[in-house]
């Protein structure tokens, strides 16, 4: 079985780099994008199994990025990350078709759990 391809989109480069490394250690193939536009262009050129998207980003916002991703591939599961307890953004994301949402700082085990659920 091929490795699972995960795309991480977040402006906090330190965060996604480290998270990416941890996911690699757990046997996933992960790539990173520093903003929404980069992330979207990467989706168009490569097939990903799961996208992990931060909602709070400068430039193209998390929710807008989500809309565009869904426009490209409706079935691609997207797990949202929120920096604060704004359930409003989370709920809106869910309505736009996001798979689930998690709060930062992350519990890596919970994230793995969600990824596994998303893949099913």
């Amino acid at each position: 079985m091929d490795k699972v391809n995960i795309l991480l989109i977040d402006d906090e480069i330190e965060f996604i780099e480290t998270l990416s490394e941890r996911l690699e250690l757990r046997g996933y193939n992960s790539e990173i994008a520093e903003d929404g536009e980069t992330g979207i262009s990467m989706i168009t050129t490569k097939d990903f199994d799961v996208v992990i998207l931060d909602l709070m980003m400068p430039g193209l916002s998390g929710l807008d990025t989500l809309r565009q991703i869904k426009a490209i591939d409706k079935k691609l599961p997207v797990i949202l990350l929120t920096g604060h307890g704004s359930t409003k953004d989370g709920m809106e994301g869910m309505q736009l078709g996001a798979f689930d949402f998690l709060m930062k700082p992350l519990d890596i085990n919970k994230l793995i759990e969600k990824i596994q659920l998303a893949l099913k």
């Binding site: 965060f15 480290t18 250690l25 700082p105």
Partner: protein, 570 residues
């Protein structure tokens, strides 16, 4: 202009208590002035008008009476003069000089007209040449007497009353006769004054009222009730003014207790004087005056009472509305303060959250790497260290989430809940503390407590905060009472009371403010402000009552459904 005066009077920038007292004083003064001034003015005007009116009403009849009586006197005297004048014309000097004839004349006079005592004829030299009467005056010379001189000048004369030889009062009347030959002679008659007294009696004077004749030199010409007998000096000052002026008025007299009315005779030097005590004359005036004063006093009492009561209630209303306004402003300021601090806290929490997430991932990666690597020196020590970092991050995350929850609801999940169950859950959680500190929990939980829609976790948080505080406040063996009940608006109420140290008033005022803590290093000062925020968010109310040394009671209400959710559902 007057606006600034009104402002100065009523909008005083002073201490609140002073302000209300000054306001009250000014309103009372102004209202009193406005109401009593016209009243007083009217009373004063009426007083003087009635007084002058009544005086003239009382004096006028007296004056009319005195004039009428004076005319009777004058008529009487005039008649007597006319008779004497007729005799002087009807008879010649020689006829009158005849003693028999003059005696006959006197007899006819006495028969036809009362009062005559004697009659005598006086020649040019003033010698009495003929006389009829009870005295032997024949030959007496009158040239030096005033009566003779006055008659020579005026042609006729009426004397003042005097006591003659017989010691009874009488007057002399005399007329001069001028013959064709140029000779003059004089006819002189004496008249008793009994009729004076009878005339005065016939006036029909009211009680206590005196009337008498007085001569120009102040001698009584008739008996007076109060001022002496005939020919005594009259103690009243019937001054020259009385005789010089025809306009006689009681008020012109200086006497304070009496009204004196007098009429001056034109044919003799007499004045008829009527004296009436004011107590009699002004009886109706005094009654009216008393009534006026009583009405004035009653009105004043009513005005004062009404003004004071009205002002009191007015000031009370102003004070209440001021207090309400201040209360609302204070609440608003408090709410604004809470909301701005909430926003600040949310901002700080959000900013801290991102680096926290990075630390979390770095430490996690470190942990991953250590676990994956072969055994090395102090490997387990490193694992412990990274786990400690991760635990601390977890604690920080909880704090930031709490801070965020202060302004926003984190993961609000509205579901039907039973407060009694949540209380039991929280108490289970605190069981060790309760046992260890031997705290006596008194449950007053309502059995038929309705189930409400609210957030389970948040209410747990609130109960945890309140119960932790209550436990902290009591000593060992302290008592904490937990009471739940349904309330009128369809919601529920929870009361948590302790018998601990109580909360000072200044602390109560700030107790729900964020970062306000009395526990110093031990507390964040967020517990109660978060509870406050949660209850407000869930549409409820939280309040505290406390007496220092007697414990404290926290009460919160929760509605059947949070209002916000109802809106969404609708």
């Amino acid at each position: 202009m007057y606006k600034s005066i009104i402002n100065n009077l009523f909008l005083l920038e002073k201490e609140p208590k002073d302000h209300y007292n000054t306001l009250k004083r000014n309103i009372v003064i102004i209202m009193m002035l406005i109401t009593t001034l016209p009243l007083a003015t009217m009373v004063i005007i009426n007083y003087f008008q009635y007084r002058s009116h009544l005086r003239s009403q009382i004096v006028a009849p007296l004056y009319a009476m005195s004039e009428k009586t004076k005319h009777s006197f004058e008529l009487f005297l005039d008649q007597r003069l006319a008779i004497i004048r007729f005799i002087s014309t009807a008879y010649s000097f020689e006829e009158l000089a005849d003693e028999q004839k003059i005696n006959k004349i006197l007899i006819s006079l006495k028969k036809e007209s009362f009062g005559f005592v004697d009659i005598g004829l006086i020649n040019m030299e003033g010698t009495l040449v003929s006389y009829a009467g009870p005295y032997s005056l024949l030959g007496k010379n009158y040239a030096e007497q005033i009566s003779f001189q006055e008659t020579q000048i005026n042609g006729q004369y009426i004397s003042n009353v005097f006591l003659g030889y017989r010691k009874f009062p009488h007057i002399v009347i005399a007329v001069q006769h001028l013959t064709e030959s140029g000779q003059t002679w004089m006819l002189r008659a004496t008249i008793g004054t009994d009729f004076f007294n009878s005339l005065i009696k016939s006036m029909g004077l009211p009680r206590q009222t005196d009337a008498f004749l007085v001569s120009e030199d102040g001698l009584l010409q008739t008996d007076s009730l109060y001022y002496g007998k005939t020919l005594e000096k009259c103690p009243l000052k019937i001054g020259e003014s009385t005789f010089n002026s025809e306009n006689i008025d009681g008020s012109g007299n200086n006497d304070k207790d009496k009204i004196v009315v007098s009429s001056v005779f034109s044919i003799a030097d007499y004045a008829l004087v009527i004296v009436q005590p004011k107590s009699v004359a002004l009886k109706s005036w005094y009654a009216l005056k008393t009534e006026m004063i009583i009405i004035l006093l009653i009105s004043l009492a009513i005005i004062i009472f009404v003004v004071l009561r009205m002002t009191d209630s007015l000031i009370q209303r102003i004070r209440t509305s001021d207090e309400n306004r201040e209360h609302v402003i204070a609440e608003l300021q408090h709410a604004q303060k809470l909301s701005s601090i909430g926003r600040l806290a949310a901002g700080v929490a959000h900013e801290v959250n991102n680096p926290l997430a990075i630390i979390n991932e770095k430490a996690g990666l470190m942990n991953d790497l250590i676990e994956l690597s072969e055994d090395f020196d102090k490997k387990s020590k490193f694992i412990d260290l990274t786990n400690a970092i991760l635990n601390s991050v977890d604690r920080c995350r909880k704090i930031t989430h709490r801070l965020l929850g202060f302004s926003k609801r984190i993961d609000v999940k509205i579901e039907p809940i039973n407060i009694n169950h949540i209380i039991n859950e929280v108490l289970d959680f605190l069981e060790k503390d309760i046992l260890y500190r031997k705290i006596d929990i008194n449950y007053v939980l309502s059995d038929d407590l309705i189930s409400i829609e609210s957030d389970h976790g948040q209410i747990q948080q609130v109960l945890l905060n309140l119960l932790t505080n209550a436990f902290a406040a009591v000593e060992e063996f302290g008592e904490v009472e937990i009471e739940t009940q349904n309330i009128d608006n369809g919601g529920i109420q929870v009361r948590i009371s302790d018998n601990g140290c109580g909360i000072p008033q200044d602390v109560i005022e700030n107790i729900f403010d964020p970062f306000f803590s009395t526990k110093k290093e031990k507390g964040t000062g967020l517990g109660l402000s978060i509870s406050y925020g949660i209850i407000k968010k869930l549409g409820g109310k939280i309040s505290v009552e406390s007496k220092l040394g007697e414990g404290a009671t926290f009460t919160f209400d929760l509605p059947k459904k949070p209002i916000e959710l109802e809106e969404i559902d609708g």
